[in-house]
């Protein structure tokens, strides 16, 4: 019968229309911004810099190695390396960025900077409401604006942050063990030095610097 297909389609539409009053499956929209859908844990928008402790400048993990600057596909990161060094999370003196800018009008949220960073210093934020009326300066984030604490990182990507923390703790323990061994070796060396040792004796192997 002509029109049967149309009627069947109409019935389907009616089922969806009235269904949206009773079934959540059929009413999929929410009233943004009053109502929001929760962001996915893996969601990524723009990068931020992680710092440990309370002081953002002292705790910054970034060592200004500039790998992310080089690998960034649209080249939106700009880093200036410091002349002096400051201790990192493991107490090892490292360079730090005196300038770290990300132009989020160029950034395409591809996460390659996060993947290539060997120091777990740059991560992806989930903040997406970043509209501003300033086209240049408003969308150019400097290192102060980019710095977010490790606690914040834990709130947005809990699983990932825990993994990162355990990895860093492991590395730190390794570094500390190495430093301890080195210190012990140095102490042993120092203890051994006053004794009249034969001049042909080799220095203890594995002595740290």
């Amino acid at each position: 019968m002509l029109g049967e297909g149309i009627l069947k389609g109409m019935a389907e539409t009616a089922r969806n229309f009235f269904g949206s009053y009773v079934s959540k499956e059929r009413l999929t929209t929410v009233e943004y911004p009053e109502e929001r859908v929760p962001t996915a844990e893996n969601a990524r928008v723009f990068p931020f810099l992680v710092y440990d402790g309370a002081e953002w400048e002292a705790g910054m993990r970034c060592v200004a190695c500039q790998i992310c600057e080089k690998e960034c596909p649209p080249k939106c990161i700009l880093i200036d390396k410091s002349k002096d060094k400051k201790p990192d999370y493991a107490g090892k003196p490292q360079f730090y960025p005196t300038r770290f800018d990300i132009d989020i009008s160029v950034c395409m949220s591809c996460q390659i900077c996060v993947e290539v960073c060997p120091f777990e210093a740059i991560k992806m934020d989930t903040q997406f409401e970043l509209a501003t009326d300033d086209r240049f300066a408003g969308l150019l984030l400097d290192r102060k604006e980019l710095a977010k604490s490790n606690e914040y990182y834990h709130t947005i990507h809990p699983t990932e942050a825990t993994e990162v923390d355990s990895r860093l703790a492991e590395e730190k323990a390794k570094v500390e063990a190495k430093a301890k061994a080195a210190a012990e070796a140095a102490a042993a060396k120092a203890a051994a030095a006053p004794n009249p040792a034969p001049p042909a004796d080799k220095p203890p192997a594995g002595g740290g610097d």
């Binding site: 297909g5 019935a11 996915a40 969601a43």
Partner: protein, 390 residues
Amino acid sequence: MSLAETKSEKVAGWNRPPVVEPDGEGELLEVAMGPHHPSTHGVFRMDVALDGERVIRLKPVFGYLHRNHEKIAEGASYLASMPYTDRLDYFCSLTNNWAYALAVEKLSGQEVPERAEYIRVILAELTRIQNHASTIGFLLQEMGASGTPLMYAFREREKILDLFESLTGSRMMCNYMRFGGCRVDVSTAWLDATRKVVAGLPGFIDEFEALLTANEILMARCQGVGILKPDLAVNAGISGPMLRGSGVNYDIRKVDHYGIYDRFKFRVPLGDHGDIYDRYMVRVLEMRESIIILDQALRDIPAGPIMDPKAKIRGFRPKPGEAYGRIEAPKGELGFYLISDGGPNPYRYRVRPPSLINLTVLEDMCLGQNVADVVLIFGSVDIVLGEVDR
């Protein structure tokens, strides 16, 4: 350039579009449909010469979105091109990723772990479903069914995009696959969520079909319109649902067995007449076959690593050589041709865009049809301008 000057008749023997003579007397009306025409899926122009309502000539014009993706890629490292491939066919970023990863893996001889292959299949088939669903939605939108079918399609697409977001971090620009595997592993929770979504998909397609397939208006507008003959389709390099809609049995998943597609049982739906309705039906049936593949993949996915242990993220330099890798993307055959000179960036990087090549026969299909049908025929080709213009 006036339309009359295009398409030289001097060249003999080529498979040219048919010559359509105007019926009556008087001048032809030349209309520029686009680049800001609501039916053109972006910025695309069709310069049409009309005799009344009939199309006498048609010339597609594009390049408005041209950014020379290939040149950018030749100046960037292999990895840095991966996020750019997302932006080719922005509906199907995961299949674009796969095609590029496949070509680079061929170039460098990398192996992909089994679990990563399964993940790739799952993501590619989900991408195919959401692409076909929205294509049909858009097609109906262009037919005048304003909104309803498109919103049904988008409702399902949203569920699939949520899965993409929770796995890859982004809904459309996934940037997920890497040379020799995938970026992050899927969790059991994600697999369970996917199973739940896939279990709901047959119901959605039933509903979609109840709404559309037997609809008399759709049949009247689509059947016998925009016919593409199989010999022309093969000769013009048409691929994907358009080729199969014309009845040519050619699915790269079946022919090349790339990835692990030889492990799955699925059928290749074929059309009979090569009209818009056949292309619509092929897409609907392909969605059903994708669900069958998804069921098998989600059942069999093994545990294990997701990256080739030898794969390098930084400082990746394949040996000199070249490779052409292609997959069956939702829109057709998506290929990447790469030449390496041993450096960190490709010497030559070429995308074989299915959307662009499928447009070759647009004129052939539209000539002699009514101008209102041009919009439909164009919609049934299923293009994304990000890929056409690159």
